[in-house]
């Protein structure tokens, strides 16, 4: 029980990552695969935030000089997540543009039917 309570955040974000991976591995539809990648990315971002979390921590923002830094969560993972989110957005935008073009050319988003290129 104590394991569950102290690691519940990790269980949540890794479940998200694994669900995303499963979607990518199994689903044949390109849009679903992109959704899977995004699910996984969200899970990874949550994981990074969780790494820096301390119990009952506050946001690492001072709004007055009297505030004490001890209760603040680690600011570095938050900065990393900001970067990771932006990278995720970039990949998503590019993936969607590719999906648009794939649909233009093949008239389908089913990856099993798109096979101009094979080994």
């Amino acid at each position: 029980m104590s394991f569950l309570s102290s690691y519940i955040h990790y269980i949540g974000c890794f479940s998200l990552i694994l669900i995303g991976l499963y979607v990518v591995l199994v689903k044949p539809n390109l849009i679903k695969v992109i959704i899977g990648i995004n699910l996984m990315g969200t899970g990874v971002n949550l994981f990074l935030v969780t790494v820096g979390y301390i119990h009952a921590g506050t946001a690492p923002i001072f709004s007055e000089a009297a505030q004490q830094p001890e209760g603040m969560v680690d600011p570095v993972p938050q900065a990393l997540v900001l970067t990771a989110i932006v990278i995720g957005v970039a990949v998503l935008a590019l993936a969607l543009s590719l999906a648009i073009r794939v649909y233009d050319h093949y008239g389908t988003l089913d990856l099993r039917k798109i096979k101009a290129l094979r080994w």
């Binding site: 990552i17 995303g20 992109i34 990874v44 990074l48 970067t83 990278i87 590019l94 073009r101 794939v102």
Partner: protein, 493 residues
């Protein structure tokens, strides 16, 4: 001494400026990559003597290393950044006239940024920054593979993007585990603390990092994207992808395995993976009818050999691997560039349609032959020197395990020799196909002949005088192997 950070900042600034320049003049943007890479080449080469003395540690934002991102321009980093700039420059010159369709200005922007990403990867000393530059490299290559928007390019781009995105997700998980364990992202700081933590979590994070970077490095089970991406991209991009981009993945793996983790126990596993990759790549290449797909599979094979050499963990072995990175980069860039205009001329990528091209395009065919011979490892080309170093290193280890692996690996090289010789034989000794239309657009412009010729000359020169590169190889290997020195240089005390 110029600050190594300019190697990243200046090309980045030029890339940012291209949209504005493109509004002013339609012709200017295509020369910008040449300027950027020329600058990088000059700076990298001028940094080389300094880096050989001691790695140059550059801080950003004015804080000492563990507390901010820093660059470490060691011998290996500067050697690779020189290689990137050199190949980048030659391919940029080639691209001035080669790129004829699609969004040309955007091609130039993406091209510079891809090389900036590769330069950042080899220079940075911070593991998350490594990831960021890795993404710069990867995302611009996804876009470049598909930038023409044609059906094969888009399909290859989509495959590449899906696998690459999963790979970078895995890298990020690995980085999260590392940060959670050590509370730091500086590679030297992690290296200094790495022995203090239970080994299973280290193994898991290392597995995530290797798998993630392995996607870009096209190590065996993760190389499904490579033949499609490398063959569908424009030839100039294929040259960079094969010559530089996949090496950046391999560099990241080597840096993480050697410098950060000092994980010698997984090296035999990597060596086996390397040989498997080599065999699979070469065997698939043997059956190809499409010249660019053949070259792409051959790249997989060579990556396997480099990985194998890296896994030897001896100074000679790593020197050999770095040497092979250099020689394969030059040769593969040459092969892709030469085949680019051959494809323009014949209008087809079938190997059979290239028969008899030795008479129609004598210079291109000669250069292609030089590149192919170098790749096989025939003397007096540079490929021979690098492969010979690796063989010597394997014999030097004296371990039966590695020697057996090498013996298996040599089969791959034999296969490689077979298919390249078949192509070259077709160039010169087979009659041209009767119905081949003479494409007028295949006239090779001067801007394409110069880089191809220069690459051939370089391959021959370094092959004859391996000492030109050889002086740097030893320190470069030490850079990777000597963890204590690395930590000392970066952390200061």
């Amino acid at each position: 001494m110029v600050s190594p950070i300019l190697l990243i900042a200046v090309p980045l600034g030029l890339a940012f400026a291209i949209p504005v320049l493109g509004l002013a003049s339609k012709r200017v943007p295509r020369y910008v990559p040449v300027i950027a890479m020329l600058f990088n080449l000059v700076v990298s080469v001028s940094l080389l003597p300094h880096a050989l003395k001691a790695p140059i540690v550059v801080r950003t934002a004015g804080w000492a290393p563990p507390y901010s991102i820093h660059l470490v321009a060691g011998p290996l980093g500067v050697l690779l950044s020189s290689l990137i700039a050199l190949i980048g420059l030659l391919v940029a010159v080639y691209g001035i006239d080669y790129i004829r369709e699609g969004a040309k200005v955007k091609y130039q922007i993406l091209y510079i940024l891809m090389l900036v990403g590769a330069t950042g990867v080899v220079l940075t000393g911070d593991i998350f920054n490594l990831f960021v530059f890795f993404e710069v490299l990867c995302i611009s290559s996804y876009a470049l593979v598909a930038y023409r928007g044609d059906s094969t390019g888009v399909e290859a781009g989509a495959k590449y993007l899906i696998q690459g995105a999963i790979g970078s997700g895995l890298v990020l998980i690995g980085i999260g585990l590392v940060y959670g364990t050590f509370g730091t992202l500086t590679m030297a700081d992690i290296a200094a603390n790495v022995s203090s933590v239970g080994s299973f979590r280290l193994f898991v994070s290392l597995a995530f990092l290797i798998t993630g970077f392995g996607v870009e490095a096209a190590i065996f089970p993760l190389n499904g994207w490579l033949p499609d991406a490398h063959s569908s991209a424009p030839s100039s991009i294929s040259a960079i992808l094969s010559g530089i981009a996949i090496k950046a993945g391999l560099y990241a793996i080597a840096r993480v395995v050697y410098t950060v983790y000092g994980a010698s126990s997984i090296l035999p596993f990597l060596a086996v993976l390397g040989i498997v990759t080599l065999l699979i790549g070469e065997m698939c290449a043997f059956g190809q009818e499409d010249i660019k797909r053949l070259l792409a599979f051959s790249s997989i094979g060579q990556m396997g050999l480099i990985l194998f050499a890296l896994a030897l963990a001896s100074a000679t072995g790593i020197s050999g691997a770095v040497f092979l990175i250099v020689s394969h980069g030059l040769a593969k860039a040459l092969l892709f560039l030469a085949s680019g205009y051959m494809i323009y001329r014949t209008g087809s990528r079938d190997i059979s349609s290239l028969n008899g091209i030795g008479k129609r395009m004598p210079i291109m065919s000669l250069c292609f032959t030089v590149g192919a011979f170098s790749l096989i490892g025939l003397p007096p080309f540079v490929g021979f020197a690098s492969k010979f170093t690796i063989v010597r290193a394997v014999l030097g280890t004296g371990s039966t395990f590695f020697i057996t692996l090498l013996a298996i690996g040599l089969i791959g090289t034999v296969i490689e020799g077979a298919y390249f010789l078949r192509i070259v034989q077709g160039f010169y000794f087979k009659p041209a196909p009767e119905d081949s239309p003479e494409q007028t657009e295949g006239k090779v412009p001067f801007s394409a002949l110069v880089p191809v010729g220069l690459l051939a000359v370089l391959i021959l020169t370094i092959g004859l005088f391996p000492g030109i590169v050889g002086r740097v190889l030893g320190p470069a290997a030490d850079d990777l192997l000597d963890r204590t020195a690395y930590v000392q240089h970066v952390m200061g005390d």
